[in-house]
């Protein structure tokens, strides 16, 4: 293997520190030129706005049943059809979206911040600290999750905060391992050594010099985490934590729709489509962000 030369000359590394604003500004300009990323942004914005304000303009509530109607395919009265209790699927998708987007984004942010900081510290300092931190991660991986969730509920009652704790507790682990691996590989590169020799503080080195260089995998893994979180929420609802009926979430709607997919396909297709659309948008946006923030590729 060739000895890897510094990714960017030391001087270039120092640049973003002084010109922080212009880096983000440039990134924003590059992002705006990326058609897929712009599409992703718009789609996410529209979905979010629809979920927030859609219910206000609808004639039905998420719990209004029409047992005589039962499950009906899309029609003029119910654009996306109704579920087996005759409830309007579109309204339930809006309400479910509020739950799923809130849980998906905030739990992912929690997992992201814990995982990135934890992984970066373990990777950067190495040694005994790394050993203790990573064996802790191994332990957390191994504990039986259903038991953990049920115990949480026993001690703290049903509580929406617990949902984030339970999801956060598992989702940050792999992120921490990925970040640690990247940091380990980058911290010995010449430009980091250069930053050290310039007497920069460790915190500054980690957050200003190392993390920006591992943003790519972080962004990709984040976009992988969000769907996992949304589906995990459905499993937690099964255990009694999370949304309780008649309220719903995308994960729960998809899980219920999957059981009825042959009889009432729209109950799976529409929740599945909006779920996929959201994830595609997030991925496009994520890829765009990654490209936009990549100082190196822009130099080609």
């Amino acid at each position: 293997m060739l000895s890897s030369s510094p990714t960017v000359p030391a001087a270039a590394v120092l640049e973003p520190i002084e010109k922080g604003n212009s880096l983000w500004h440039d990134a924003w300009l590059r992002l705006r030129k990326n058609r897929l990323a712009v599409f992703g942004m718009w789609a996410l914005a529209i979905i979010t706005v629809a979920c927030l304000f859609g219910p206000l303009v609808m004639h039905y509530g998420y719990e209004d049943q029409n047992l005589d109607l039962g499950a009906s395919p899309p029609s003029a009265a119910h654009w996306l059809g109704t579920d087996t209790l005759g409830r309007d699927l579109l309204v339930r998708l809006f309400y479910g979206g509020r739950v799923s987007l809130a849980v998906g984004l905030s739990a992912t942010l929690v997992a992201l911040s814990i995982g990135v900081v934890y992984g970066a510290i373990a990777g950067f300092f190495g040694g005994k600290l790394d050993a203790v931190m990573m064996r802790t991660v191994d332990i957390m991986y191994s504990l039986p999750f259903p038991i953990f969730v049920i115990l949480l509920m026993v001690f703290f009652g049903r509580n929406i905060i617990l949902l984030f704790v339970a999801i956060g507790a598992v989702e940050w682990l792999t992120m921490a391992r990925i970040v640690r691996g990247q940091v380990q590989s980058i911290k010995k590169m010449e430009f980091i050594e250069a930053a050290r020799s310039l007497g920069l503080g460790r915190r500054r080195i980690i957050f200003r010099h190392i993390l920006p260089n591992v943003l790519g995998p972080i962004i990709v893994y984040t976009t992988l985490t969000i769907p996992g979180v949304m589906l995990l929420e459905a499993f937690l609802s099964f255990l009694g934590l999370g949304v309780q009926p008649p309220m719903s979430s995308w994960g729960v709607l998809i899980k219920d729709g999957a059981e009825k997919m042959e009889e009432f396909p729209w109950l799976l297709i529409f929740p599945g489509t909006i779920f996929s659309l959201t994830l595609f948008s997030l991925n496009f946006l994520g890829d765009g962000l990654r490209d936009a923030l990549d100082v190196r590729s822009s130099k080609d």
């Binding site: 047992l67 259903p146 009694g240 309780q244 008649p246 219920d256 059981e259 009889e263």
Partner: protein, 557 residues
């Protein structure tokens, strides 16, 4: 698989092309082999089974054990019935007791002594004769506290049985079960019991083979491993041939069974499939003759088919919500009545199309010759419900404390809870929260009285109204609301001990009137037990307890 043509350098292209070709070749090889091995529309398991008289049946979760004294779940009774036989059997149509190991029997005039005469031809699968001593041994075993059988209450009407099983020290000779000779068994009862013969057909009364049990452990040692393939000895129409953990139990026809000439099936494969959707797909692809469950969403589809495999029999089961009657607000009978009056049971039933469930206006399901027709019959009357709730201090639901309805997580339970929740909101102005709970948390809370309102279901053990009314006797193990009424106890027990049919039924009605007035539970509907049955299966008839003796079943496309 898409194999995109990359536009790389020429060298790369050819090398990558070779690599992808290799990969593609490998994938095709794997696919081809598997198609050769598995596909080409080979004969399905069901078709082969029809030819060879092999019945493929789904039975839900894997059984813990095949010991009939420790069998716990209804589906596993199917296996017990194939491997063993009691003193009496059941008629496949209406389950009336028919001769089993006993060829005849007689009661004493006061109904307190039952003498059974065993047939000489009854054999264990190892050739030993089945004797009256085997039944005495079996009774002593199941009643032993150390065995911990959950079904010893099937012996409760036998004199001394309860006392014996309550303490390890007592002497079995105090129990009213005696072998007068090798082929005569005498039972002494504490009181006349109209349904005692029915109980004798249950798996808890099956004999177990003493020599085998004592070979592998102490006679009252649970789970000693005597039921493993190669060890198991039974007296049923089939013997245990194989048990593949997580997959299947195979039983084969027992040539030594006294009525072997009547048995037409050569083999039964009991497949463990826990998930109803998986089981339904296995049925549809020709892997199963018979399913244990039918997914709720598939009921309408199957019901609409001509010559549908869907079989829905009324099931001796009532689906209810139980109240916590020790704490406010449900310690007030007016609140309980208001909650019951506010539920339109016909519409609850309509929310489960094609399931065959029937609205319940009383607790005991129909089918026993007894239907409650007293004046405490439940009804739907929202106006009366509101008046009662107002009288209890909550006009239009104002000031009603927050209330939680517990169910174990399951799509059907949840849908029903949502429908009822909506009715309470509309008709009473009361907002009830639904709490999904994980199975064991749910049962633990329910049995421990940690609930306000909870789902509650009951399946009768034998065909008599008392199989239901016994639940709410004071101190009963399954009496989740902790209902205690001396009047109810007196009426229900008096009824059960009456042999004369019309008098007994009239007394049951008086007892049920008390129950429905006090309303510790609100019955919602009488449940059903749908199955998918391949049309090749003959001799299997819908009945109230879903018992299907295999002696009468055969396969013919």
């Amino acid at each position: 698989m898409i194999a995109p043509r990359p536009a790389g350098s020429p060298g790369l292209r050819s090398r990558r092309a070779r690599r992808t070709r290799g990969l593609r070749g490998f994938l095709f090889l794997v696919l081809g082999l598997s198609i050769l091995a598995g596909c080409t529309r080979r004969e399905t398991a069901v078709a082969a089974g029809n030819r060879l008289q092999i019945l493929h049946q789904g039975i839900g979760a894997e059984p813990e054990d095949l010991d009939p004294h420790l069998t716990q779940f209804n589906p596993h009774f199917n296996i017990a019935m194939a491997l063993g036989e009691g003193l009496v059997g059941y008629d496949p149509h209406d389950l009336h007791p028919v001769p089993g190991v006993a060829e005849r029997w007689e009661f004493s005039p006061d109904g307190l002594v039952l003498t059974l005469h065993l047939r000489a031809s009854a054999r264990w699968s190892n050739g030993d004769p089945v004797t009256a001593d085997d039944f005495v041994f079996s009774a002593r075993r199941i009643l032993s506290p150390a065995l911990g059988s959950p079904y010893r209450y099937y012996y409760d009407d036998v004199r001394g049985a309860k006392e014996f099983s309550a303490s390890a020290a007592s002497d079995f000779s105090t129990v009213g079960i005696r072998a007068l000779d090798a082929r005569t068994l005498r039972l002494e009862l504490t009181h006349p019991t109209s349904y005692i013969l029915f109980l004798l057909g249950n798996w808890s009364w099956y004999p177990v083979h003493r020599a085998t049990i004592e070979k592998y452990g102490h006679f009252d040692q649970p789970y000693s491993g005597w039921t493993k393939p190669g060890r198991f000895v039974g007296n049923g129409p089939f013997t245990l041939a194989d048990w593949q953990p997580g997959q299947v139990i195979v039983v084969k026809k027992n040539a030594l069974y006294w009525d072997a000439a009547r048995v037409r099936l050569a083999e039964i494969d009991f497949h463990f499939i826990e998930n109803a959707d998986t089981e339904e797909r296995a049925f549809r692809s020709g892997q199963l003759h018979l399913t244990e469950l039918v997914p709720g969403s598939k009921l309408s589809t199957y019901a609409a088919q001509p010559s549908s495999p869907l079989v829905i029999a009324p099931f001796f089961s009532t689906y209810s919500y139980a109240f916590n009657i020790s704490h406010p607000p449900f310690n007030d009978v007016r609140v309980r009545r208001a909650f019951s009056l506010a539920v339109d049971r016909a519409r609850v039933v309509a929310s489960q199309p094609a399931s065959g469930i029937q609205p319940a206006f009383s607790f005991v399901p129909p089918g026993t010759g007894y239907v409650y027709d007293g004046d405490a019959r439940l009804r739907f009357d929202p106006a009366a419900a509101r008046r009662l709730l107002a009288a209890a201090g909550y006009p239009d639901g104002r000031g009603f404390p927050p209330v939680e309805l517990s169910t174990n997580t399951n799509l059907r339970h949840q849908e029903i809870a949502e429908v009822v929740q909506q009715m309470w909101a509309q008709n009473l102005g009361v907002r009830v929260t639904i709490a999904n709970k994980e199975g064991k948390v749910f049962y633990d809370d329910r049995l421990g009285g940690r609930f306000q309102l909870t789902r509650s279901g009951w399946v009768g053990d034998y065909i008599d109204p008392f199989a239901f009314l016994t639940v709410y006797l004071t101190g009963g193990g399954q009496n989740e609301p902790r209902y205690a009424s001396a009047e109810y106890d007196r009426l229900a027990l008096a009824a059960a001990r009456t042999l004369d049919e019309p008098t007994r039924l009239a007394r049951y009605r008086d007892a049920e009137t008390v129950l429905l007035r006090d309303l510790p539970i609100m019955p919602l509907f009488y449940d059903t037990k749908p199955h998918l049955v391949n049309p090749a299966v003959h001799g299997r008839f819908p009945n109230l307890l879903d018992f299907h003796p295999y002696q009468d079943i055969w396969l013919e496309p």
